[in-house]
Amino acid sequence: MRLTLLTIFYLISCGLFGQSSILKNQEFSFSIGIGELDIEKFSPNENLDFINYVDYYPEYTDFIILKLGYKFDLFSKMSADIKLIMMDDIIPDNYDISLHYFVRPRLGIGIGSILNKNWITYFEEYQIQTLPDYYLVDYNVQQFTTYDLGFYLSPALKPIDNDIFKLQITCDFGISSFMTEEATFYHKKKLSNERLQYHYKTKTDYQPYIQPKIDIRLKAFKIKETSFGILLNSNYYFSNRSINYIRTIQAWTSENRINEQIEPSKHNYSRFEFNMGIFLRW
């Protein structure tokens, strides 16, 4: 992921400071917005379901989003869009990169990749609830900072595209997967010598998603060759998601090992984002 971010920074640097003849209609944007998660939660059952523990707050805004964007046209029919996305920790470790080829002036097809960060927290509660006869030896809160990596195919439509006002609608059809994470729980049976160890290792498992996006740009004024304006963009991600994993239970000693492949039920998982900001184009 570090390599990806470095590549993005390199591309932006080349575009901003380089005298490239390939890159045209370059645009830098900054926007701020909100993100809302909506995740279907299930009652605890015999298997730990990590999606049940994804951080989200139905009553509040789930996260603040800052986006740094860099957009440019390549050759005559291609357009690249690079967005570095930060949440309230101000770490640019999310992105959305796409490259579109416009077969017609207003109709194009593109490919892209996204990386979204999620926090999965307090899942040790499942262990405490389901094993009441056992102590959980480590009571510290468990948290995964898990990244959801996706790749998509994206038809694009530009119903309005003039010097003042630009409207682009895209719909990403893609697959994404949470990156692997591991967690270990040690248990000790009350009034007994028995010790248990639960080890969870999540699996990479790409699952389909859909994400319509709308992007509006309105030019406000122009100074020499540089245009300034405001932008609005919004997107809605929807998928049926599960985090599959391998569970290893060891009782007493490490020789007694039971491995199980667990595939929890799929949850409706959606995320709505709305951003507004400014851009400068040259």
Binding site: V137, Y186, L191, N193, R195, W252
Partner: protein
């Protein structure tokens, strides 16, 4: 004349200075050499065995306290092998090294470490009282015994791991301790165990616990 004698004495003094510096440098070098010499572990001979009961009913093993009342599913024994002989001879070499070294040069006080000369080759555990209907007094229960490391974030291990620990270098003390836990539930109101440790020189150290009162888990 007097002036010539004084000059001669001064010349002799000047000639002596390099010799003194060489002697001091040599002495300093020797002390520096021994200061930087790491201490080898002191060899000990296990000649004493102690087996006591400890409480393992709670979340963490109560490593430092002895108990005579144990839950039926939480029987845990603390086995300690030690060298009770006076080991001045072993320490003599260490003291000698210390005499010839700069104590103040050490960044930290290094506690001595110990290593058993005769290694443990086997541990057998026998019950002296009936445990349940199938395990009777006098039966060997070594197969039902596991070794517990002090780390509570760990599972148990077989007795071979415990033997490895006993045979390894021991820090701070001239003794080594491991915890043994019983996998089987005790269905008697009392329990008592005998632990036999065999060393590679053929010596057998046998320790017997006190009679434990068993309460149901």
């Amino acid at each position: 004349m007097t002036e010539t004698l004084i000059n001669k004495r001064n010349v002799k003094k000047i000639i002596l200075i390099p010799k003194v510096i060489i002697v001091l440098t040599l002495g300093f070098g020797i002390k520096l050499f021994f200061s930087c010499t790491p201490q080898d572990p002191i060899e000990i001979n296990y000649n004493n065995i102690s087996v006591i009961g400890i409480d393992n009913s709670d979340m963490y093993l109560d490593y430092y306290n002895t108990t005579d009342t144990i839950y039926s599913d939480a029987v845990a024994l603390k086995l300690t092998l030690s060298d009770t002989s006076i080991f001045y001879a072993s320490l003599f070499y260490q003291n000698l090294i210390q005499t010839f070294s700069f104590q103040t040069l050490k960044a930290d006080q290094i506690d001595p470490s110990y290593i058993p000369k005769n290694k443990v080759v086997d541990i057998r555990v026998k019950t002296i009282l009936d445990i349940n209907d199938s395990i009777k007094a006098g039966d060997d229960i070594s197969e039902s015994i596991l070794y517990a490391s002090i780390d509570n974030f760990d599972l148990y291990h077989n007795l071979c791991q415990g033997i490895l620990w006993l045979n390894g270098i021991q820090s701070y003390y001239e003794r080594s301790t491991i915890i043994l836990v019983l996998k089987t539930s005790v269905k008697n109101t009392n329990a008592r165990f005998e632990v036999k440790v065999t060393l590679d020189n053929g010596i057998e150290l046998i320790g017997t616990t006190e009679i434990f009162t068993i309460i149901e888990s």
